[in-house]
């Protein structure tokens, strides 16, 4: 069924165009996140309909079949049901899902927000073996013989030696004409990165705040994944103490109690020192909170940690402040005051979902 695949490909192309157009919409809602697979996201799109003269729904009325008294609601006595849909030609608002590779999604994001590609820090180009047979050699096993090149070489030799007879165009490859495919190894920059998502889960961070964090984190991951070959993501939540959790818990955990931001920074630093050494990893800590910290003293501790320990070790440290009903938003001010001149620190503040795109642009726009 080759033809239908061509039409399907065309349809998908059209759909991608739509997604590209609507990317801003997806940037501010969490529709895509729940649909993330390993390598692809399935994007729900309303079926692209050809406009036609058709009946509207001015009355949801019609003829049905089955028991029920006058005034009885449809589908209450569902004993009837069980129609196995043999007649599947009803028209309606079908929702289609279309798979989009994460890589492609990142590309769309990059275009939409005009994100620069990231230049990996330092020079850690480690020659890794590239395993592609795209070279040609004069020796090799018969199974890898490159017929066309062999023939070409033989033809060249025949012509140049004057044996070429257009009336009897016979070309016999010699041993030295043989060409074989060969593996070419090229140095591939070794690029690993680790992302720390740290979130304040104290009582003041509500559902909406977490949702915003979730959307930001999704897009940040998607982008960084497209930039590095090997990505690890570490999720840290904190209130007065910090701990490492898995992705699911990160977004759904609800704690209460105080907020001690330094606890999260300390934990991240510990992990960096133990596991993600600067020599091997590009490090991206992100921290989200509503801007409230337990005490000014703890904030001082945070600033010191950032200045002396974390910032020198990472590519960029991002602080995303999400506005909540209770948060004072003081922490961002404090950070900006103390470390605002350091270009490795980026702070943003998001008051609602509409700001997410701008925040992502701020975080990733530096190409670090």
């Amino acid at each position: 069924m080759f033809r239908i695949e061509v039409d399907r490909a065309r349809f998908r192309e059209i759909v991608r165009g739509r997604i590209r157009q609507d990317l801003r919409k997806y940037l501010s809602n969490s529709e895509l996140i729940a649909r993330q697979g390993e390598h692809a996201v399935s994007v729900p799109i309303p079926q692209i309909e050809l406009p036609r003269f058709r009946f509207g729904e001015n009355q949801k009325a019609g003829v049905g079949q089955g028991p029920g008294e006058k005034g009885e609601a449809l589908g209450e006595k569902d004993g009837e049901g069980g129609g196995e849909g043999a007649a599947g030609d009803s028209e309606g608002a079908h929702i289609l899902e279309v798979e989009v590779e994460l890589e492609e999604l990142a590309e769309m994001l990059g275009k939409e927000l005009q994100l620069p590609n990231i230049q990996p820090r330092g020079k850690r180009d480690i020659a890794t073996e590239g395993g592609r047979y795209n070279g040609v050699r004069r020796s090799g096993p018969d199974s890898l013989r490159h017929m066309r090149r062999t023939f070409k070489a033989a033809l060249l030799r025949t012509i140049s030696s004057g044996d070429w007879d257009p009336a009897n165009p016979k070309v016999v490859p010699d041993r030295e004409d043989q060409r074989y495919r060969a593996r070419k190894s090229a140095p591939v920059p070794d690029s690993s990165a680790v992302i720390f998502h740290m979130m304040d889960v104290s009582g003041s961070m509500g559902r909406e705040q977490k949702e915003i964090v979730r959307i930001e984190a999704f897009w940040i991951d998607t982008w960084l994944r497209s930039q590095y070959r090997n990505i690890e993501v570490v999720y840290i939540v904190h209130d007065a103490v910090a701990k490492v959790v898995d992705q699911n818990a990160f977004f759904h955990l609800r704690e209460s109690g105080g907020t001690k931001i330094s606890s999260a920074y300390e934990l991240a630093l510990k992990l960096i020192q133990e596991k993600y050494r600067t020599e091997d990893w590009n490090i991206y800590p992100f921290h989200y909170s509503d801007g409230d910290n337990w005490s000014a003293r703890d904030t001082e501790r945070c600033v010191a940690l950032l200045r002396d320990e974390i910032l020198p070790r990472c590519n960029q440290f991002c602080y995303g402040q999400v506005k909540s009903a209770y948060g004072s938003g003081q922490f961002k001010k404090d950070l900006d005051e103390a470390l605002g001149s350091d270009e490795r620190l980026v702070t943003s503040s998001v008051s609602d979902r509409g700001d997410i795109a701008a925040a992502i642009r701020l975080f990733l726009g530096k190409g670090r």
Binding site: I4, R12, G56, Q65, G66, G71, G82
Partner: protein
């Protein structure tokens, strides 16, 4: 018609044997059809063919790709599955799905015999192209050639516009032409319902665009009789598959599975009419009343058959009812079981082949070269958002202003399109009742 030797067929020997037997039994009951070719394919290929409306040779369009995507997802998630696909052609081609059980295959083959007989004898199909496979192939070649010459984007854009106008046709036109033994020649003369035909003749478009309009029109008219006889066609096929299979084709051990499969297909649905169910019951009812079912299947379409057969006893037996939205409780509920109202509603829905009845009443009535369209409102409103978009496309094809008069509930509406925008204004309600053409006896 005699037994035809099977042309190429991908059936397994066992299925081929059953096909032969079932066909023989069917013909023994008096069913009569063109040569029947079964193709056995896997589900994916059947989905692909179904996406093309049954024709694997159809012209390229993303719309078919979308349909394929939908069918594939439905199959993948186990929501829907195509049992069978049959096309009206000589020979009749039917696709069977490999993964079906032997019983299902038998059922489908018997069902297909019913469809094939219906295609061959129902009067609404008499004017259809019986070599549509070839014709579609030619259309496909033409469209591909146009794509090569004019570029995919341009052809696609115009094709999409033409497809939006696909249902602006006169369902009764082909038969009228057929009965008069002449080609319908009234193209291009308003008033007409055959707006597509009008555009083929009169729209100021380039030749290649005209070719696309003709292709879209030819295919639309080919499929129209199937829409107008959906209930009958499915009913007739179910009526016969049931009779053929229980008349000796099935082994006793298969009866329960058959009953399960059959009742699944002909289940009553509370919120809509299942054409399989309504159709089979109509034919059974007719037989009980002593009608000649073969004559009925020859003469009628869905609307006229219901007009002829449905009465109080039938509506009560089949538990048909009217439903509607209760504005107080916001529930959809049963509103009436009066048989006359049920029948009226059914007839109204089916009268114009299920399409909104839209007529081109005048060209250039006000000297601006505009097309004036009138929607014969039958109680069902048009979806205005779609109507606007469609008018824009019509205007693009016509290269001039177009307008449509319709109603929203009881209030008149004028949708005027100048090629760029559509303006909706309130007007006095057009006092036109739908004039469903009488079909029936000929």
């Amino acid at each position: 018609m005699q037994f035809a030797r099977r042309r190429s067929s991908s059936l397994t020997p066992e299925l081929a044997l059953w096909a032969e037997r079932i066909e023989k039994v069917a013909r023994g009951y008096g069913l009569d059809f063109y040569e029947l070719v079964f193709e056995l394919l896997d589900a994916k290929d059947v989905n692909g063919i179904a996406a093309y409306g049954g024709f694997p040779v159809r012209y390229p369009s993303w719309r078919f790709g979308m349909e394929f995507e939908r069918l594939e997802k439905g199959y993948e998630y186990g929501l829907s599955k195509i049992y069978e696909l049959v096309i009206n052609n000589d020979p009749v081609v039917a696709y069977l799905v490999k993964s079906n059980s032997l019983l299902e295959q038998k059922l489908v083959m018997a069902h297909v015999c019913g469809h094939a007989d219906f295609f061959a004898h129902n009067c609404w199909f008499q004017a259809t192209d019986r070599h549509m496979l070839d014709t579609m192939g030619q259309h496909s070649t033409t469209v591909r050639r146009l794509v090569d010459r004019h570029g995919l984007e341009r052809v696609e854009t115009f094709m999409d516009a033409a497809l939006s106008l696909e249902n602006l046709l006169d369902p009764y036109l082909p038969l009228r032409g057929h009965l008069a033994k002449t080609k319908p020649s009234a193209l291009g003369a308003p008033p007409t319902y055959d707006i597509l035909g009008f555009l083929c003749e009169r729209a100021p478009v380039e030749d290649w665009q005209r070719e696309i309009l003709r292709i879209v029109r030819a295919e639309a008219y080919y499929f129209q009789p199937q829409r107008m006889t959906k209930i009958m066609n499915e009913g007739w096929a179910s009526f016969w598959h049931s009779r053929i299979l229980t008349g000796g084709v099935l082994d006793a051990s298969e009866i329960v599975d058959f009953a399960d499969c059959h009742s699944g297909a002909t289940a009553r649905a509370p919120g809509r009419v299942n054409p399989y169910k309504l159709g089979i019951e109509l034919f059974r009812y007719a037989e009980e009343l002593g009608h000649d079912v073969f004559a009925l299947r020859r003469r009628h379409n869905d609307a006229s058959l219901i007009d002829e057969l449905v009465d109080q006893a039938f509506v009560e037996r089949e538990m048909l009812f009217l439903y509607g939205k209760n504005s107080r409780t916001a529930r959809t509920e049963v509103t009436d079981r009066d048989w006359r109202k049920v029948k009226d509603r059914l007839l109204g829905e089916l009268a114009w082949g299920g399409l909104p009845q839209i007529e081109l009443v005048a060209v250039d009535a006000r000297g601006k070269g505009e097309l004036s369209l009138l929607h014969h409102h039958d109680g069902r409103d048009l979806q205005l958002a779609h109507a606007r978009e469609t008018l824009l496309r019509l205007s693009a094809v016509w290269k001039g202003p177009v307008e449509l008069v319709t109603r929203e509930e009881s209030e008149g509406r004028l949708l005027a399109c100048d090629g760029k925008e559509v303006e909706v204004s309130e007007i006095a309600a057009p006092n036109v009742e739908p004039q469903a053409e009488q079909s029936g006896e000929h």
